[in-house]
């Protein structure tokens, strides 16, 4: 079970990544890395939902203040948080509620992590880019697709290097 301090540490690291590295890692304006989506993906499932949504809004608010415009990051992040349980039940229909409550994304295999994180990242970006550019154009959708792929690559790197628990067996919760 992830502790508050662990979540706090992740959030600081993801914010630091976004502030320090993301501008340098963007690919000519077409692909932006936004691995901070991991925060909403990896919020502990064992917490009460009030704490979860509070942490999700708080992290989104900090992102909004650091990287304006106000409200956009929180809006997209709440989508990820709101859909992740639904998505988890779609991926693993056999999970009973207790198992779902004890589910830890840190235990996921690489394939399961891809199936869990990639669609939600894509959903986040499909909201983020049209709203940020305030238009629904093919270039906007292309930027969202490329950025979600690029973001997932960085999410995967961070997941493999930092988030995956080395003492936990790499197996699917099924």
């Amino acid at each position: 079970m992830a502790s508050v301090w662990e979540v706090l540490l992740y959030s600081v690291l993801l914010l630091a990544f976004q502030g320090a590295l993301a501008p340098a890692l963007q690919v000519s304006g077409w692909a932006w890395p936004m691995p901070y989506v991991l925060f909403w993906l990896f919020l502990p499932f064992s917490w009460r939902w009030e704490w979860e949504i509070g942490a999700a809004v708080l992290f989104g608010g900090v992102l909004d203040i650091l990287f304006p415009p106000i409200g956009l990051q929180t809006f997209c992040g709440l989508w990820v948080w709101g859909l992740r349980r639904f998505w988890l039940r779609l991926l693993h229909p056999s999970l009973v509620s207790d198992e779902a409550r004890m589910f830890a994304p840190q235990r996921l295999s690489t394939l399961d992590f891809f199936l869990y994180a990639m669609p939600l990242t894509l959903w986040h970006h499909l909201w983020y880019f049209p709203l940020a550019e305030w238009r629904l154009h093919f270039s906007t959708l292309g930027r969202a697709l490329l950025s979600s792929t690029y973001t997932f690559v960085w999410e995967w790197i961070i997941f493999e290097l930092l988030l995956r628990k080395p003492h936990v067996a790499r197996r699917s919760p099924r």
Binding site: I53, G60, P69, I70, G71, L72, T74, F75, L78, W134
Partner: protein, 274 residues
């Protein structure tokens, strides 16, 4: 929600999530100028669409109310007209046909209805429902709402035969008001709604689109009635003058109410009815 137990059903994750989403989206729209502008525009467009829809839905009621109002006004006007001394039914006149209103004091307009007309002859004419009893006699001019239409050729007590300007024996003196040059209008080419004007001097630089009016020195029509617009200019050096092709304002296929010009003073042929 310990203090408001009856609102406990609101304290559920989807409800709170939706509420928060609405709040942050509203904050974003308030903060981002493009989003704010687009949101305002969307609201205005929605309002306009809603108003348009409501106007469309309530149009029959408004039309009925307007009809009742017009009927009431019409009744009042008829009452007022009946009470006035010396008024007649000649008070209306075709504004669109008049380019120069100076002649109005010398003429009055008698409304008439076409009850028969020809189309495919070289001598087109129409029969009007006004005759000698209405003061109509041969030689009077006839105009439509848009322009010159023809002249009265024969009359009975109750009917008149009007020769149209699309009659090959009708010649009309016309003027180009921009140049002050007179010409003779004929209907040589048997195409309805098209006439020719001859004898325009070659030094006059006529342009397409100019208007053609009746000339003041015509014996049939007063000056300043609209005839048509110049459609083409034919400049044949062998003729020694220019010929103009005119698209008439009057449409022979769509004649509504016509007006017979009755002189009120001693002007034109109308001053000496035979």
């Amino acid at each position: 929600m310990p203090f408001f137990p009856y609102l406990a059903w609101l304290w559920r994750a989807p409800v709170v999530w939706g509420l928060l989403q609405g709040i942050v989206l509203w904050m974003y729209i308030r903060y981002e100028p493009r989003a704010h502008t687009a949101f305002q525009r969307a609201i205005i467009e929605f309002q306009a669409a809603f108003h348009g829809l409501m106007r469309w839905v309530t149009r029959p009621w408004w039309a009925m109310r307007r009809l009742e109002e017009l009927e009431r006004q019409n009744a009042e006007l008829f009452t007022t007209l009946a009470e006035l001394q010396g008024t007649s039914t000649y008070s209306t006149y075709p504004v669109g046909a008049c380019a120069d209103f100076a002649f109005l004091k010398d003429y009055r307009f008698l409304p008439a209805r076409v009850i028969y007309q020809t189309f495919h002859t070289h001598q087109n004419y129409a029969i009007l429902n006004r005759g000698g009893r209405d003061g109509v006699y041969p030689g009077l001019g006839v105009v439509g709402p848009e322009g010159v239409l023809g002249l009265i050729a024969e009359t009975t007590a109750t009917y008149s035969i009007m020769y149209a300007i699309f009659h090959r024996n009708v010649y009309l003196n016309v003027v180009l008001p921009l140049h002050g040059v007179n010409g003779l209008m004929t209907w040589r080419t048997p195409v309805l709604n098209r006439v020719e004007v001859d004898y325009i001097p070659p030094y006059v630089q006529v342009k397409e689109g100019e208007e053609v009016w009746t000339t003041p020195n015509s014996l049939i029509f007063p000056g300043g009635l609209r005839v048509g617009r110049i459609e083409a200019v034919e400049n044949d050096p062998r003729q020694g003058f220019q010929r103009l092709r005119i698209a008439t304002y009057i449409d022979w296929h769509r004649i509504g109410t016509v007006y017979i010009l009755l002189p009120t003073r001693g002007v034109g042929l109308g001053s000496a009815p035979l």
